[in-house]
Symmetry: C2
Subunit: 417 residues, 2 copies
């Protein structure tokens, strides 16, 4: 496999617009920025070198297709190349890269598929810029609610609509990227695990059964801003000291729920904004963002309920008003058991050990699962670190993932099926 | 006094660049911005109408002088007109306005002072923009450490040096605003109380003995950023959940210290910054800003020590590193007891009830006290609310303050002294 490994190594750097993978600041290719576009251009160029037809749709998704027959169905594989701020170079890229590499492997083996194969590079998977994730795959799956997100802004005050127009697309036509159900037969995504279960279970490849979609809450506590030096401790309505115990509570309750039953739940107070956030003014308003995930939707709901009850208690004890806004509440997504079975079979066939698991992170495949038969493969990443400059997956694991995809595509698009 | 009250009402609006005082968003005239400059222009115009000579110094302070004799000493009065973001229209303005109004009162009474009188409108008192306060009065008093602040930036990335140059000043010469000790005889500031002690004690005017200067700490906890969905609760180094109990601890310990002895102490966790502060990433780094004040310097030190010890405990229990940086540690300032006595005498002479107190907030007078004999007067403000759009002082209380200043100036600059 040295040829495949070299190819992966070279094109991993290219898709990351990088000379090496080890940057202290990591990679920043936020949604619908020129950095994401540059990486899309690299995708186009690699795909064209493999002899694929490349086109972009109205949402900025890139489709690279091995087109064999107008009448034949299309089997799709893909992921994304955008990143969080100071993120890693594998989240997303791994799936796009191994998809393209699998095409190379099939071509090197002189395989002649009887179905079309598309490698999709989805636009704007990460929510880091606008708080809205998987925009490209939502558009393809017909799940994009334009009205709902039009006025969402990034931290520079640029709306998602403006960003999309700056990207060279038209806001008016973005939802025309929707693909009819009949056009695709199935969709497969490969992603880094962003956890350590594959390694812990001494396996090679993770085969995902369910994706834990989040409940996201925005909790706003409103007290009264006042001068820090002249307002006695007894006459304050400090929104920050009032809400601070909730940060501890969320962690405690997540740990408690995990100790009480077997299905894992994770919960994080991941964002905060303080008004006015200056040294000599008591915080008058605090907003916390809370992210809760589990494949068991009832567990997420249970924690959200406990958070609400705890906020009521705070309101009773302290002179603050608390408002909870549910930003996101998506039920968990389950992948097609038949695809899970097929992936298991091909993984074992080429002598790798599969591990069946759930995903704590959302991916483009969640949207695709709404319309098509789908599968999700994980490859290990070091220490489970992700969304961080230290994110790392080995070329060896990328090659294993490529082999599984190639083998799967052979089975799915070969003549004997 | 209807004439004085009308004058105060009219010029209060003018200095606030406003048609009315009741704006939901309050007033925003941050340090060294065009809004501060506009208000300085109004100050110049009012002073000139009163027949005063107006000049600006190298730090942007405005000096309006009733010049009677080159050989005579100068008695000064003043405050500032800059504000915090969405602040009130009385913090600072009250002192500048009543200083000018006192000149009007003396002139209306045909008083002929034998000393010069200057009303100073100090530049950039508030720390809201750069985290550095009382820049103008520091320059006058020779306390400005240019090296120390040159690279400080506002939230738009503009350095204090750039802001000062944009304001029309030269960074090179800003410290030449220093005034020799011999040039001034004394300095008096009037300010709104920003508390409720005058009212609680059924008095008219607060006469301040000491100013509680802050200790300000910057506490940074460093953990490890990671994906919120895929990192089990047991494998996290969440900097926010690690440091959150400190927010509660600071409030608890301030209350405890207040219950143990009589000198008040206040402490506030007033700022927070989270990295990366996005919904799907566990906080990797949190920085809290803590403001501690008391006229008893040993009490401030005691709380700072307890905070440090508590942070060590957190480090022992959680996988985070905590670094504490002392931003500010200024000893409390005591005003001239002779001036306190003179202010008490004149207040009682015109049949107002004085109340002797300490100040929890820093003011320009702190710097002036370093070099000259100084006094600080407070007038009541509604519910003690300050640094907030609802900040309010009555015209009646502004008029009382004006009368006390005028009476003091008569005594200090009259022939019989």
């Amino acid at each position: 496999m040295p040829d495949l490994q070299n190819w992966l190594e070279t094109n991993l750097l290219k898709l990351n617009l990088a000379e090496e993978m080890d940057y202290e600041q990591g990679f920043s290719r936020l949604s619908y920025t020129k950095e994401e576009k540059q990486s899309h251009h690299v995708f186009q160029s690699i795909a064209q070198d493999l002899g694929l037809e490349v086109k972009a749709d109205q949402a900025g998704n890139q489709w690279a297709t091995w087109h064999v027959d107008d009448q034949a169905p299309t089997v799709a594989v893909g992921s994304h190349v955008d990143t969080v701020k100071n993120g890693g170079g594998y989240d997303g890229v791994a799936g796009v890269l191994t998809g393209l590499a699998a095409i190379k492997a099939l071509k090197d083996q002189n395989i002649k598929p009887v179905k079309n194969i598309s490698i999709i590079c989805f636009a704007s998977e990460e929510s880091a810029r606008f708080g809205v994730s998987t925009i490209g795959s939502k558009a393809i799956s017909g799940l994009l609610d334009k009205e709902d997100i039009a006025s969402v802004k990034d931290t520079d005050g640029i709306t998602i609509k403006e960003a999309i127009e700056d990207f060279g697309l038209s806001w008016e036509t973005i939802d025309q990227a929707e693909v009819p159900e009949s056009k695709l037969e199935s969709f497969l995504e490969l992603h880094i695990e962003q956890g350590t279960q594959i390694e812990t279970n001494d396996a090679d490849i993770g085969i995902v059964r369910g994706v834990a979609c989040p409940i996201r809450l925005q909790v706003t506590a409103t007290g009264m801003a006042n001068h820090t030096g002249t307002t006695p401790m007894t006459r304050r309505s400090d929104a920050f000291t009032a809400i601070a115990p909730l940060i501890t509570f969320v962690e405690e309750q997540a740990n408690l729920l995990n100790s009480e039953q077997d299905i894992p739940l994770v919960a994080t107070v991941s964002t905060v904004s303080l008004e006015p956030n200056v040294m000599n003014v008591i915080p008058g308003e605090v907003t916390l963002g809370i992210d809760i995930r589990s494949v068991a939707d009832s567990l997420k709901k249970e924690l959200a309920d406990r958070i609400q009850a705890y906020c009521h208690k705070i309101e009773e004890k302290r002179s603050v008003d608390i408002h909870i806004h549910t930003l996101v509440d998506n039920p968990s997504v389950f992948l097609d058991p038949k695809v899970v079975e097929k992936l298991t079979k091909v993984t074992e066939k080429i002598n790798y050990k599969p591990f069946h698991m759930d995903s704590g992170a959302g991916h483009d495949v969640m949207n695709m699962a709404n319309k098509w038969s789908t599968g999700l493969l994980f490859i290990p990443c070091e220490q489970g670190i992700s969304h961080h400059p230290k994110e790392f997956a080995s070329i060896n694991d990328l090659a294993k993932g490529t082999q599984v995809i190639a083998e799967y595509l052979k089975e799915e698009t070969g003549e004997d099926l």
